[in-house]
């Protein structure tokens, strides 16, 4: 690793209250994110993978303070931003941005592309009108779009183009850290690679740090330096890419990886799939002990009793499992 | 607007410089009629609201006062046979205008104007709505500038139709000359602002909304009217009109307060105004169908050819139905100050009112039952009386109106007590009273056994009214159902009395005849009178001079109204 951590997340939890009944009484909470801790080094890409509903996106949004986290601590560039509010929070937003999953929905349909990209500039900079326009054209150019498109509306573009606009928008304020929340999930496969390559190029050019959230293990393998695996609101394993793919330790990681097809037909033929039994439990009512214990092929009595600790192993690997030594 | 302001400024200046400072000294008079005036030409509208609002501006030769007595208005005396004003053969009447009468525009009123008024209304294409006041008028001639003679084609024992009462005011020839016949509706300016002799002149007319008036600078009594301006506001409903006089005091006079008696007395308790009532000739009555309304008769339904009614032709049934009704309760529930029980279809003026039928005033269920028992109507298994397979089952119709529906419900209950079954029906007033030939629901067609409504007559003379129940007035397909004899009552004796009255001139004799006709109708049960209905109005306690009048416009003496000291 070596480089200093640009982002440090410690014990981050995000619970959503559940209301029921006529008087909307609080009857419980959904533990969307539960005690998640990790660091991201400057210039690094951390992949965050897991099944849908496991809390990946919530983690991303909570880090960017789009939600108010229930517990834990978030440090950006050494500064605690957990409890920032109002203007202080808005100021810090210039350093962290997000690229959203649905490029259609996240662009205001009534604004032109130019004004969508320029809006953060209006808010956070004192550029003149002409300078802003130049910057917008520059950004459009940077994401591979014709700068003349600035006067068009989002609905006039294809999904891939819209995602580029979203990326241009995120880059407008030259952030240090970007959360990419499934940026390619809604795109055609043919477009996905283009967007991922664009993200990689931009990373090199602007020295960006990414938290890359995805359920697509092969795409994460392509872009991420390290990969964190999430299950039911908790991290189960975090390891450098190579280590994780060649030697997964956590039974859930193993099961996930066994589902990824191998490009080599010979190896694909002998690939052994681990089929998990049962459904993912409800985050409103997680099992006691290890979250994964209900579906784990190697779970023991202890797993159902005690929540496994997030332990650091050799080689920068973290695992939360009683069975891993 | 500027012009109006200027006018009133000039007028004010005139009054100020004038020694007769009393005219216009009492400020503004606010009148509310919950039906708004649509037009100020009574010859083009029969609506009471239109006639009464116009009565502030245009006037007849003579008014009826609140007792129904004629009083001279634009003349010095009422012409009679005795003073030579009415010819011996009863075929003409000569009116002599007072001296020095002026229209509000300053020109003199002449006999030519009076003659023109008749010509205007008698024009065949004009659709004159007061034509009945000019019935049998052959010609009206101006003998000289101030003398006008009305010639009738027949002997008229009561020649006071034309130019007497608010329905037949005199209009100015110069203004309406080009508005005769088919052109009448096109003269909007004249119809909205007639030039008259009355105490007020129109300054602004907003149809169906409000009339603004100011004192007539040329009014014949230099000291009158007391108010400088009048606002005649229309619209809304009777209850809120009553409230604006009795509770909020925003208005000085409210007309025709058909409000539940209880509510009205509560409002009056606020002490700002007084409820006044007066009784004319309106009687709420049940018409009894003497013909058979059975739908099976097809075209002959409810006609004389269709045959007599299966059971209402039995006098015992008609009497029993009347006896079962408690008229006091009906008054209490629906009319209050505005009604009193009556047993006559002709209850007023006093000289015509009979007392021979007053037995019906008290309810007597037992007597009614006995009558039916004696006549052979015995209760069937369901309690409804029957005889020879005919059940006493009545279809009872009236117009849609909450008081009428309450009355219907009460009557139904009383009739049930004596073993008569009643089916109630109500029809929208504009259909019920509208003479649409194609509608089966009009009161003329009378496709029911009993129907209820109010009728009255204008003025004080009942001759035409009583003639309504002669045989030739029976509505039928032959006369397009136009006829006023709804019960289809036909009695040669009665017709003879009608004929006799049309040749009798002496008032006492006429009164005796009218009473006799009334009694005949009542005792034969062609109609069952219920309520003698009066008008109820309210005026502010600060308003003096109101003499509530049912025989003429309620505003007939508005020139005398003034602020209380």
């Amino acid at each position: 690793m070596g480089a200093e951590a640009i982002l440090r997340v410690d014990g981050l939890s995000m619970y959503f209250p559940v209301y029921r009944g006529v008087l909307r009484k609080k009857v419980g909470e959904i533990k969307a994110v539960d005690e998640v801790s990790f660091d991201i080094a400057k210039g690094e890409t951390l992949g965050l993978v897991g099944e849908s509903g496991c809390g990946k996106s919530t983690t991303g949004r909570a880090i960017l303070k789009l939600y108010d986290p229930t517990a834990g601590r978030i440090e950006l560039q050494g500064k605690d931003i957990t409890d920032l509010e109002g203007d202080a929070l808005r100021e810090i937003r210039t350093d962290m941005q997000m690229i959203f999953q649905d490029p259609q929905a996240c662009l205001n349909p009534r604004m032109t592309v130019g004004s969508i990209i320029a809006e953060p500039l209006d808010e956070h900079t004192r550029l003149k009108k002409r300078q802003k326009r130049e910057r917008v054209r520059e950004l459009l150019n940077a994401v591979g779009m014709n700068p003349d498109f600035e006067n068009r509306y989002p609905h006039e573009f294809s999904g891939g183009q819209r995602q580029r606009i979203g990326i241009a928008r995120a880059l407008a304020l030259e952030p240090k850290f970007i959360v990419c929340d499934e940026p390619i999930a809604a795109l055609d496969v043919s477009i996905q690679a283009q967007v991922v390559n664009l993200l990689e190029d931009l990373q090199k050019e602007h020295d960006l740090t990414y938290l890359f959230i995805s359920h697509d293990l092969s795409m994460v393998r392509h872009i991420a330096d390290r990969i964190a695996v999430m299950y039911l609101g908790r991290l189960v394993e975090l390891a450098p890419r190579q280590q994780l793919y060649t030697m997964p330790r956590h039974p859930y990681t193993k099961a996930l990886l066994s589902a990824v097809p191998e490009p080599d037909p010979a190896r694909e033929a002998v690939r052994e799939r681990i089929i998990l039994k049962g459904d993912v439990p409800s985050p409103a009512n997680p099992p006691s002990g290890c979250n994964f214990s209900t579906r784990c092929p190697i779970a023991e009595e202890k797993c159902r009793r005690e929540t496994p600790a997030w332990r650091e192993m050799d080689g920068g690997r973290f695992v939360a499992c009683h069975m891993v030594q | 607007m500027k012009k109006a302001l200027l006018c009133s400024a000039v007028a004010a200046g005139l009054f100020a410089g004038n020694a007769l400072a009393e005219r216009g000294s009492d400020g503004q008079l606010n009148i509310i009629y919950w039906q708004a005036a649509s037009i100020l030409n009574p010859y083009l509208s029969g609506g009471t609201k239109d006639i009464e609002s116009a009565s502030m501006v245009i006037e007849p030769l003579a008014h009826y006062d609140e007792t129904g007595t004629m009083v001279p208005n634009l003349v010095d005396e009422i012409p009679t046979v005795d003073n030579g004003g009415v010819s011996e053969d009863l075929k003409s009447i000569t009116w002599k205008l007072s001296d020095g009468l002026m229209w509000s525009d300053g020109t003199p009123v002449t006999a030519a104007d009076v003659a023109f008024t008749a010509e205007y209304c008698l024009h065949p294409e004009g659709g004159c709505q007061q034509a009945s006041n000019f019935t049998d008028v052959e010609s009206v001639e101006a003998i000289d500038d101030s003398t006008v003679k009305v010639n009738f084609s027949v002997a008229k024992p009561f020649p006071y139709g034309p130019f007497v009462g608010a329905q037949a005011p005199v209009i100015q020839k110069a203004q309406f000359e080009n508005c005769m016949g088919a052109k009448a509706p096109e003269c909007t300016d004249a119809n909205f602002g007639p030039i008259g002799t009355g105490p007020y002149v129109v300054t602004e007319f907003k149809a169906n909304d409000v009339v603004s008036l100011k004192a007539n600078p040329n009014y014949r009594d230099a000291a009158k009217p007391a108010f400088a301006t009048v606002v005649f506001k229309g619209g809304g409903d009777a209850a809120s009109a009553a409230r604006s006089v009795l509770e909020t005091g925003e208005f000085d006079y409210a007309w025709n307060l058909q409000v539940e008696p209880e509510i009205l007395s509560k409002m009056a308790a606020a002490g700002k105004g007084t409820v006044v009532s007066s009784f004319g000739t309106s009687v709420e009555r049940l018409m009894v169908n003497m013909t058979n309304p059975d739908p099976a008769l097809g075209d002959k339904r409810a006609t004389v050819e269709g045959g007599p009614h299966p059971f209402l032709t039995d006098p015992a049934v008609r009497t029993a139905l009347s006896k079962a009704i408690d008229r006091e309760i009906l008054v209490e529930v629906g009319y209050g100050e505005a009604g009193q029980p009556t047993c006559n279809v002709l209850p007023a003026p006093a000289i015509y009112a009979s007392t021979a039928n007053d037995a019906c005033l008290g309810q007597d269920i037992e007597a009614a039952k006995k009558l039916l028992d004696d006549a052979g109507w015995v209760p069937g298994s369901d309690g409804v009386r029957e005889k020879d397979g005919v059940r006493l089952s009545i279809l009872y119709q009236t117009s849609t109106n909450s008081v009428r529906q309450a009355t219907q419900a009460l009557v139904k209950q009383w009739w049930a007590e004596i073993g008569v079954e009643t089916e109630l029906r109500n029809i929208d007033a504009s259909v019920f009273f509208g003479g649409d030939q194609s509608s089966p629901d009009t009161f003329q067609k009378f496709f029911a056994d009993i129907e209820m409504y109010t009728n009255n007559f204008d003025g004080t003379d009942p001759e035409n009214y009583m003639a309504n129940w002669s045989c030739k007035e029976i509505p039928s397909p032959e006369n397009q159902w136009l006829g006023d004899n709804m019960p289809r009552y036909c009695n040669p004796e009665y017709d003879a009395l009608v004929a006799e009255m049309s040749t009798t001139a002496k008032l006492e004799d006429r009164a005796a005849l009218a009473k006799k006709m009334n009694d005949m109708l009542m005792q034969e049960g062609a109609m069952i009178p219920l309520i003698h209905r009066g008008g109820v109005s309210a005026h502010a306690n600060s308003l003096e001079g109101v003499r509530m009048n049912e025989w003429d416009s309620e505003l007939w003496n508005i020139a005398d109204w003034k602020r209380a000291e």
């Binding site: 960017l64 | 169906n208 909304d209």
Partner: protein, 337 residues
Amino acid sequence: MLNYTIRRLLFAIPTLLVISFLIFAILDLAPSDPTGNLPLTIPPEVREKIRLSLGLGEPFPIRYLKWLQQFFINEPLNMIEQWFGITIGDSENRLRVQSWATRSPVVDLIVERMPQTLWVVGMSYVVGILIAIPIGVISAYKQYSVFDQVGTFISMVGFSVPTFFTGLVLIVVFSSTLGWLPSIYDTTHKVTDLASFWFQVKQMIMPVMVLALFNASQLSRFMRASMLDNLSQDYVRTARAKGLKERAVLLIHVLRNSLIPVVTVIALGIPQIFGGAIITEQIFRVNGLGQLLIIGIQGADIPLVQTLTFIFAVLIVLFNLLADIVYGILDPRIRYE
């Protein structure tokens, strides 16, 4: 957009002709009679003459064609003459649409009624909108808060309690008991100075508030729903992620987008203003177009009812078109060809 507008307007012509025919036919078939409300003392033969003088003697198609001619040719010609002070052809004998009850041109009556209706009903619409939008915005932004609950309750009350009741309550309280406000609207009142302006305000307060409450309760619910819809959109989160101020997020992003459907609803509701508010106008005696219509209906004044209803139909068609066009302008995703 221009082509689209012209095409829509052309299509509206046959539609409106059919509507005018239907209105005429329905009014003709309705069993009401212009002489029905006259006193019974007016004899039947006089009634028949009155009917003939109103033109009822002619067959239905002739009457309809006459009305068409009067409304579509004579009235516009008359209007042009009045505006430019010129005379076109035989204007003396050109028959305008005449009301049976007042025997005056219907269009003049309508023009006379316009000011009070536009003032009172129009003002209530404006006030209603001004109340509804902030309530809707705050209710949605603070969904399920006390403000939202109270707002919902008031909306339900405003919507479900009829105006004749709220009107009466206001009159009893402010006119009868307190004596602060006049219960009867003075249509002849002219505003010339501050005092008369104050009187105008006083006499407008009650009718305007009664109607505004009614209008606002509908619109605020609509505004709230539209806001909620947009608040949960992703672009709102994007806007927050951009580091915009919460005010800017709400006003620039959410409110503007939420207003699109609301503006359409407002435009569609404008013909109602011209229709007047029959009940409120009756209660306070504002005597606007609504009262004119109801009097016309009660008195079987068919030319008046026909003309008024037809004008309403025209307004509804036009404002429907306007709403569509406004939507197209406000929402770049909509394009009319």
